[in-house]
C-alpha cells in the first residue's frame, strides 16, 4: 500500500517514533462533563475556515476609503461564488466567537485553569482578546454605515483609557478621524498583525494542551478518588467524533451562507447621521447596552470612562483567575469563583438579551 511505503520511506530518514507514541498515548477522559471537550476543537476548525476564506477574500478586496465598499460589492455580485466565500467568512466568524465563548466559559466552570494549567488559560484568554479584535477590525473592512459608526464608537472607547487613550485612538484610526486611512490600518491589523500573533499564541496554547493532557473537573476527580477514570483514545475514537461535529458545522455554515447571505448595507458616509436602531455585533451588545445605562456623570468622572474601566477590570480578572483562585489550585472546591463565573455569564446573557428587546428610542 502506498501509505505504508511512504511511511517507511519517511521512517528511514526521520524518526517518527515520538509522533507515533504521542498518537497512541493521547486519551480523552470520559465522564459526564466530557461533552465540553469538543468546543476548543470546534473553535480551531472554524479558525481554519477563517484563514482559508480570508485568504480568498484578499485576492479581490481593496483596503481604501474609495474602493473598499466597491470591492466588496464586486466580490458579492461579480466574482463567481464571491457571495458564498464572503458569507461563509462572516458566518464562520460569528460561530467561531460563539464556540470560543462556550469553550472559555466551560473551561472556567470546570476550573481547568487551575495549577498546572495557568499558562494554558492565560494564552487562551489572550486568544480570546485577539479573536474579538479580529471581529472588530474585520467589521470595518466593508466600509458600510454600520461598520463606520461601530469603528467610531469602538475606537473612541479605546480613547477613554486614562493617559494612553488618545494615543491609542490615533494609533488605531491612523489619524484623528475614522477615514480611509483607518480601513488600510485595520486591514493590516486584520490580515497580518493578528494572524501572526494568533499563530504564535495558538501554537503555544495547543502545545501546552498536548503536553499536559486534558484536565478533569475537580468534582469528578474527587468522586473517583483512588480509582482510575475511564478514557477513550484520541485517535481514532475522539477524533472521529470531532470530525463528525466539524462536518455538521460545515453543512450548517453552507446553509446559513446560502440562505442568509451576509448583507453589505449602505456605503459609509461620514456626513450622514447614525441610523436609528444601530447596534454592534452581538458579542459586543452586552457592553453597548451597559454604556447606554451608565449616566453621563458619576461624581466627578465621565460615566463611559468608568464603564470602560469596569470592563477592563473584568477582563483582567478573567486573565488572572488562575492566580487568584487559590483553592482550586489545591484541588479543593472553590464556590466563590464558581459563583463569580456564573455571575459574569449571567451578566453577559442578560445585557445581550436587553440589547435586543429593550426599546431603542427614549
Amino acid at each position: 500500500m502506498a501509505v505504508v511505503r511512504i511511511t517507511a520511506w519517511l521512517e528511514e530518514r526521520i524518526d517518527l517514533w515520538p509522533i507515533r507514541h504521542f498518537i497512541q498515548k493521547k486519551v480523552i477522559p470520559v465522564h459526564r462533563h466530557s461533552v465540553w471537550y469538543y468546543f476548543g476543537g470546534m473553535t480551531l476548525f472554524l479558525f481554519a475556515i477563517q484563514v482559508a476564506t480570508g485568504i480568498l477574500l484578499t485576492l479581490y478586496y481593496r483596503p481604501s476609503g474609495e474602493e473598499a465598499y466597491e470591492s466588496v460589492q464586486f466580490i458579492m455580485t461579480d466574482v463567481q461564488f464571491g457571495w458564498l466565500v464572503r458569507s461563509i467568512h462572516s458566518w464562520s466568524a460569528n460561530l467561531m466567537v460563539l464556540m470560543m465563548m462556550i469553550h472559555a466559559f466551560s473551561v472556567y466552570l470546570m476550573q481547568a485553569y487551575r495549577k498546572p494549567r495557568e499558562l494554558t488559560w492565560v494564552t487562551g484568554m489572550l486568544l480570546f482578546g485577539i479573536v474579538l479584535f479580529f471581529g472588530f477590525s474585520g467589521y470595518l473592512l466593508p466600509w458600510n454605515v454600520l461598520s463606520y459608526f461601530a469603528t467610531k464608537v469602538g475606537t473612541e472607547i479605546a480613547g477613554q483609557f486614562p493617559l494612553v487613550g488618545h494615543l491609542l485612538m490615533r494609533l488605531l484610526r491612523g489619524g484623528d478621524e475614522v477615514t480611509g486611512a483607518t480601513v488600510s490600518r485595520f486591514y493590516g491589523i486584520h490580515i497580518a498583525i493578528l494572524p501572526a500573533l494568533t499563530t504564535a499564541i495558538l501554537a503555544l496554547h495547543l502545545f501546552l494542551v498536548q503536553k499536559q493532557g486534558m484536565s478533569v473537573p475537580p468534582s469528578v476527580e474527587r468522586a473517583h478518588r483512588g480509582q482510575p477514570l475511564r478514557a477513550m483514545p484520541f485517535v481514532p475514537n475522539f477524533l472521529l467524533r470531532d470530525l463528525f461535529g466539524w462536518f455538521v458545522t460545515l453543512g450548517l455554515l453552507a446553509a446559513l451562507a446560502a440562505l442568509f447571505p451576509w448583507e453589505l448595507g449602505q456605503k459609509a458616509d461620514p456626513f450622514a447621521p447614525a441610523p436609528a436602531g444601530i447596534r454592534p455585533e452581538w458579542y459586543f451588545v452586552f457592553m453597548f447596552q451597559s454604556l447606554k445605562y451608565i449616566p453621563a456623570k458619576i461624581g466627578p468622572f465621565d460615566g463611559e470612562v468608568l464603564g470602560v474601566l469596569g470592563f477592563s477590570l473584568g477582563g483582567l480578572f478573567l486573565l488572572l483567575v488562575p492566580f487568584l483562585d487559590k483553592k482550586s489550585a489545591l484541588g479543593e472546591p472553590s464556590p466563590l469563583f464558581r459563583r463569580i463565573g456564573i455571575g459574569i455569564i449571567a451578566y453577559i446573557v442578560i445585557f445581550t438579551v436587553l440589547g435586543y428587546v429593550a426599546p431603542a428610542v427614549p
Partner: protein, 151 residues
Amino acid sequence: MVVHEQGEQVDHGRRMVNWLLGSSLGVLFVSIFYPIVKYLIPPKLAEPTTVSVTLPWKLAELKANSGRIFRFKSLPGILVKTSGGDLRAFSAVCTHLQCTVQYREDRQDIWCACHNGVYDLNGKNISGPPPRPLEALKLNVRGDQIIVMKG
C-alpha cells in the same frame, strides 16, 4: 590570596563585558524599535485655515421644524430650523462617543441613535449618556446665504 585576587579580577572583567554586551544590545533594540513606534503614530494633518463654511442650501429652501447635516471642515455639523423659524447650528458629533446626531421632527430635539443621547435645541444634553452639550457654531445669514463659523 593570589588566586583570590585573580578571581576578583576575572569577575570584574566579566561584569564589564556583560555590561557592555547588555547595554549595546539594549541600544540596538531601542534603535530598532524607536523608528517602528514612531512610524506607527500617524502624522498630524494640518488643520484647514478656513474657519467659515457657506452652506449649500438657500435660506428659503429650509422648512420650519427640520434639521440637516452639513460638512464643516472635516467634520459633520447640524443646522436646525426650529418650528418658531430660528436657525441654530452645532457640531453634529455626539459628545458621548462621537456618533453623528440627527434632528427629530416628531420630538423637536437632537438625538444620537448610537446610545440614545438627547439634546435640546440649544444643544444642551438633556438625557442619555452624553456628558457635555453639543459644540455650538456661529451662524451668519447674508441675503439668502447661510455661513457657519466656529463659535
